[in-house]
């Protein structure tokens, strides 16, 4: 197990280097002049250019720049915005809100998606099954920003049952609707995945064996059927948490949640090159690390997967 984790960690290194290099290259190298359009509409102040050139060794070849930048980053130095703000502090302020939103979205997915999927998988072609199929189809077709607007307008403006935007504290109760918006497409996937998985495993030999052993139906379903059927669903939920932790640009934007996605988006539209790279690198790191955790989770859930 220890060796497996180590091996997977080692495998992550080239992917991490490749991805972050790609980002670095996109932001700093492609446009030619690294400062073209990096400071909003105006030309960058010379002091900033000097400072950044010094900090990121922008006069050096690209691989050297990248290496220096990454070694700074890994030592906890995320650089500063051209306004002089510490990017690390910016991330630290935004990240807890993103994490809270991600947890709420995941809970929504797991609670609603799993329940709907399991129930419809157990009663194929019943009323509930058809209801789940139709409603998940609609959820799949609704882009996040449309769902977000509709719910914000309907619940926040028309009915007035929620505040249209989330306060700076971002309490869990305020995040329920944004969490639903963020998780809605995955919720539909979870429901469909659980349904298919349950329906397939229902006819499996080992479920038949469990019945032949004279176990009560609720144990056959609750222990033998669910355990196996939920492995792919749990794995999907894990992958999705990795995705959710990457911040929700659209959802955070609509509900004005001060999260990492909104920070990244703001940095992109204000053309803050240094901030963009740092934030995106952090998000990639979180994402890759989550994926590693999911691999381990999968191996833990299914004993047939061996750690070699």
């Amino acid at each position: 197990m220890g060796r497996y984790v180590l091996r997977r960690l080692l495998q992550l290194i080239p992917v991490f280097v490749g991805t972050t290099f790609l980002i670095y290259w996109l932001v700093w190298a492609v446009p030619g002049d690294p400062f073209a359009g990096k400071c909003g509409e105006r030309r960058c102040p010379d002091a900033y250019i000097d400072k950044m050139t010094e900090l990121y060794s922008l006069d050096q070849p690209l691989p050297v720049q990248y290496f220096k930048y990454m070694s700074n980053l890994l030592q906890g130095d995320f650089g500063t915005t051209f306004g002089g703000q510490d990017v690390g502090a910016l991330i630290a302020a935004a990240y807890p809100n993103t994490a809270k939103l991600a947890v709420v979205a995941l809970l929504v997915e797991a609670l609603i998606g799993l329940t709907a999927g399991v129930l419809s998988g157990l009663r194929r072609n019943g009323f509930l099954d058809n209801l789940v199929l139709v409603s998940t189809l609609f959820l799949l077709a609704l882009p996040t920003f449309v769902t977000g607007f509709l719910l914000q307008w309907f619940l926040g403006v028309k009915l007035g049952v929620i505040r249209p935007t989330v306060s700076a504290e971002a309490n869990f109760s305020e995040l329920i609707v944004p969490g639903f918006v963020l998780g809605s497409i995955s919720l539909a996937y979870v429901a469909r995945l659980a349904r298919t998985s349950i329906a397939e495993n229902r006819r499996s030999d080992y479920v038949r064996t469990a019945i032949a052993k004279g176990l009560p139906m609720r144990r056959v379903v609750g222990i033998h059927l669910l355990r196996n059927s939920l492995i792919p669903v749990v794995t999907y939920l894990g992958t999705d948490l990795g995705a959710l932790m990457g911040g929700a640009i659209v959802t955070e934007g609509i509900f004005q949640i001060n999260g990492i996605g909104r920070t990244a988006y703001r940095a992109i539209v204000t053309k803050e090159g240094g901030t963009v790279v740092s934030v995106v690198v952090i998000l990639v790191l979180v994402y890759l690390f989550m994926n590693l955790l999911i691999d381990l989770l999968y191996a833990a859930l299914d004993p047939r997967i061996r750690y070699e």
């Binding site: 992917v15 991490f16 490749g18 991805t19 790609l22 980002i23 996109l26 932001v27 492609v30 446009p31 189809l137 609609f138 799949l140 077709a141 609704l142 882009p143 996040t144 920003f145 449309v146 607007f149 509709l150 307008w153 403006v157 963020l182 809605s184 497409i185 995955s186 996937y189 469909r192 995945l193 298919t196 998985s197 329906a199 397939e200 792919p232 999907y236 992958t239 999705d240 995705a243 990457g246 911040g247 929700a248 640009i249 659209v250 959802t251 955070e252 609509i254 996605g261 990244a264 992109i268 539209v269 053309k271 963009v276 995106v280 998000l283 990639v284 994402y287 890759l288 590693l292 691999d295």
Partner: protein
């Protein structure tokens, strides 16, 4: 993964867990039946009975015609408007109302279909062809080539989807610049492709790997059939079905992604017409002219829904277990 995007991500990169594991929702290549014609006839017979198939096919046809010949649906010039009429509600002349510049929202919604359809169809073709080709090469050759290509795919898969698209477009299509509509459409399509090809590569690669081990392929190779011929004759027909399902659903997801990027201001930009731009422009005026936001949103959702429904009905027809 990412953000709002994560939703886009969930839609565009469904069901592929790390390590390339395909979960149950991912279309898995159907086992070789040896009688593809019989299988296709079965699938067609199954499809024909499904109302969902006919509804989605009809809707898709309507959207394709709308994208190609918008003037068939409206005789009004979508760019023509007088500020005197701005923010009018629905009327006999302007069914969906008028926007801030007094332009007809119905006409603009109709003309907005083109960008979505063109971008998503081109991006899907590119994703499936490029990703599929790399997947076949990777799976068939194996060894270090496979290792290298798979790692490269991991690198692109490691970029959160919406954030990655934002970055690419931020670099090549910065806000404030005004490249031609064609160039922006191409840029959006390319950025979608760049971020999505690993999925179709993995589907194709695992299809090749599973067929490669099949007894009849081993036999064909032992009899001296050329590798190229084997791929052409056996592998591609075998995974056509799953790729078809995947690409149909992908078109739907890309329509949503294009709208999201336009909405965020890095995709198409005004004066080009796109549902995402309209929704973006309309958001402040939701109380005055709700139709400005609702009608493009309704068209957008219907278009995505049509493609997702078509993909789902083909998937169900292909998989006897789902019948």
């Amino acid at each position: 993964m990412s953000d709002p995007g994560e939703n886009v991500e969930a839609a565009v990169r469904p069901g592929v867990a790390p390590g390339g594991l395909h979960t149950a929702e991912t279309p898995v290549p159907a086992p070789a039946t040896g009688k593809p014609r019989g299988q296709f006839a079965d699938v067609w017979a199954e499809l024909r009975r499904k109302p969902m198939f006919w509804i989605s096919a009809f809707l898709i046809l309507v959207f394709l015609v709308m994208a190609a010949f918008p003037s068939l649906f409206t005789s009004i010039d979508p760019d023509q408007g007088s500020l005197r009429d701005n923010l009018q509600g629905p009327s006999k002349d302007a069914w969906f109302g008028r926007d801030i510049q007094g332009r007809d929202i119905y006409a603009r919604t109709i003309y907005g279909a083109q960008a979505s359809i063109v971008v998503s169809v081109i991006a899907t073709l590119g994703t499936v062809l490029i990703g599929g080709f790399i997947g076949v090469v990777s799976g068939y050759i194996g060894g270090w080539v496979d290792g290298l290509l798979s790692r490269i795919a991991d690198v692109f898969f490691g970029l959160p989807f919406l954030l990655g698209a934002l970055l690419i477009l931020f670099t090549f299509n910065p806000p404030g610049s005004a490249p031609s509509k064609l160039k922006v459409e191409a840029l959006v399509a390319v950025s979608l492709m760049v971020l999505s090809w690993p999925v179709s590569m993995r589907i194709m690669r695992s299809a090749v790997l599973s067929v490669k081990e099949a007894d009849y392929i081993v036999a064909a190779r032992a009899l001296g059939a050329s590798p190229f011929r084997i791929v052409l004759r056996h592998v591609i027909p075998n995974c056509l079905a799953s790729m078809l399902v995947y690409s149909t659903i992908l078109i739907g997801s890309f329509i949503g992604a294009e709208a999201t990027l336009s909405y965020l201001g890095v995709g198409l930009k005004s004066p080009a017409m796109s549902w995402g731009i309209m929704i973006n422009e309309a958001q402040q005026f939701l109380r005055d002219v709700p139709g400005w936001l609702f009608f493009p949103a309704a068209f957008l959702v219907t278009a995505v829904l049509a493609f997702v429904m078509l993909g789902e009905s083909i998937r169900e027809a292909l998989d006897p277990k789902l019948r």
